[in-house]
């Protein structure tokens, strides 16, 4: 469903479309073409309630965005479904980072990226902390999916994906995609 939501919600938003067209070269990678072909299919129509209920950051490794330098080296990995506002914020972060790396010397690139990711991770952690501090009652007791809890949980997933990014900094994206596909076949996923 996360994948479906990215197709039909985030990537259908005109502001997102315009932003990606202006600032990126966009690539669509099918994680499992052996099973899922290029024939168009009917997309499940999602209700407004279903869309609203689906968690930001949901979908896991089935929904991945890799932001890369023009030569294909990864600088930021974003996992999961994100609606327009958060997705645009993350694309802006990635774009600024790419611009900084291009200006820096080759040898400085990886360290610069790692530092930027760490800083962003700290910002996100602070944002989570602020939410918890503002709404202590919401975090006492068992989890109830209020808007506050969902927002904090989404930031938790964002923090996690930022940490995952650090392990892929400046790796070439193509081998990552090939490895992912091979792993899916090996595990018999989607067969």
């Amino acid at each position: 469903m996360g994948s479906n939501l990215m197709r039909t919600v985030t990537f259908a938003d005109l502001e997102v479309v315009d932003h990606i067209k202006k600032h990126f070269v966009a690539v669509w990678h099918n994680q499992s073409p052996e099973v899922y072909s290029s024939e168009p299919a009917q997309q499940e129509k999602l209700t407004a309630e279903q869309i609203k209920a689906y968690p930001q950051g949901g979908g896991g490794g089935n929904v991945r965005t890799y932001f890369c330098l023009p030569d294909g080296r990864v600088i930021y990995y974003l996992e999961g479904f994100w609606s327009k506002d958060r997705y645009l914020a993350e694309t802006d972060f990635a774009r600024d980072l790419a611009a900084k790396v291009r200006k820096a010397a080759d040898t400085e690139g990886p360290a610069l990226v790692r530092k930027a990711l760490e800083e962003r991770c700290r910002q996100v952690a602070d944002e989570r902390q602020t939410i918890r501090a503002k709404h202590p009652g919401e975090f006492a007791g068992r989890f109830v999916p209020t808007e506050v809890r969902k927002r904090e949980a989404a930031l938790g997933l964002l923090e996690k994906t930022l940490k995952t990014s650090a392990g892929q900094v400046c790796q070439a994206v193509r081998p990552i995609m090939d490895k992912l596909r091979a792993e899916n076949i090996r595990q018999g996923k989607f067969v």
């Binding site: 479309v17 070269v25 690539v27 299919a41 965005t65 023009p70 030569d71 990635a94």
Partner: protein
């Protein structure tokens, strides 16, 4: 004026101002009229005129999409409808590449970073 009513009015006014200041809210003046003219031209007896209108609408870019979607709610000759659908389809979709090597070549040429979206299935869904 009652304080509550004043507060609501200030909130609505504030939202309206912010909405107008948003870069996405700004549309070129006269665009709606230009689009209407070009849509009429899509039904011109001369093929050249129809082609020109088609190309101009594409050139105007993504801002025309809401106007064209509204036009599609009305009745038009088949060719006009097909052209409108084609233009909306082109303008409202991310131009995804499926070949990373080709994308890298374009990125190297333009200087733009890559955005690689990896998921199950193809752009239009999965069979």
């Amino acid at each position: 004026m009652q304080p509550k009513a004043f507060g609501r009015m200030a909130l609505v006014l504030g939202c309206a101002i912010v909405g107008c200041l948003s870069p996405w809210a700004a549309e070129a003046p006269g665009l709606a009229e230009r689009v209407r003219t070009l849509v009429k031209q899509l039904d011109d007896p001369q093929f050249q005129a129809r082609q020109q209108a088609d190309q101009e609408l594409r050139r105007l870019g993504i801002d025309v999409v809401p106007h064209l979607r509204k036009e599609l709610e009305g009745k038009h000759p088949l060719e006009v409808t097909r052209r409108l659908e084609s233009i909306v389809n082109e303008l409202s979709r991310v131009p995804w590449k499926t070949d990373i090597a080709a994308a890298q070549a374009e990125a190297a040429r333009t200087g733009k970073p890559l955005l690689v979206f990896s998921t199950i299935g193809e752009v239009d869904g999965f069979a």
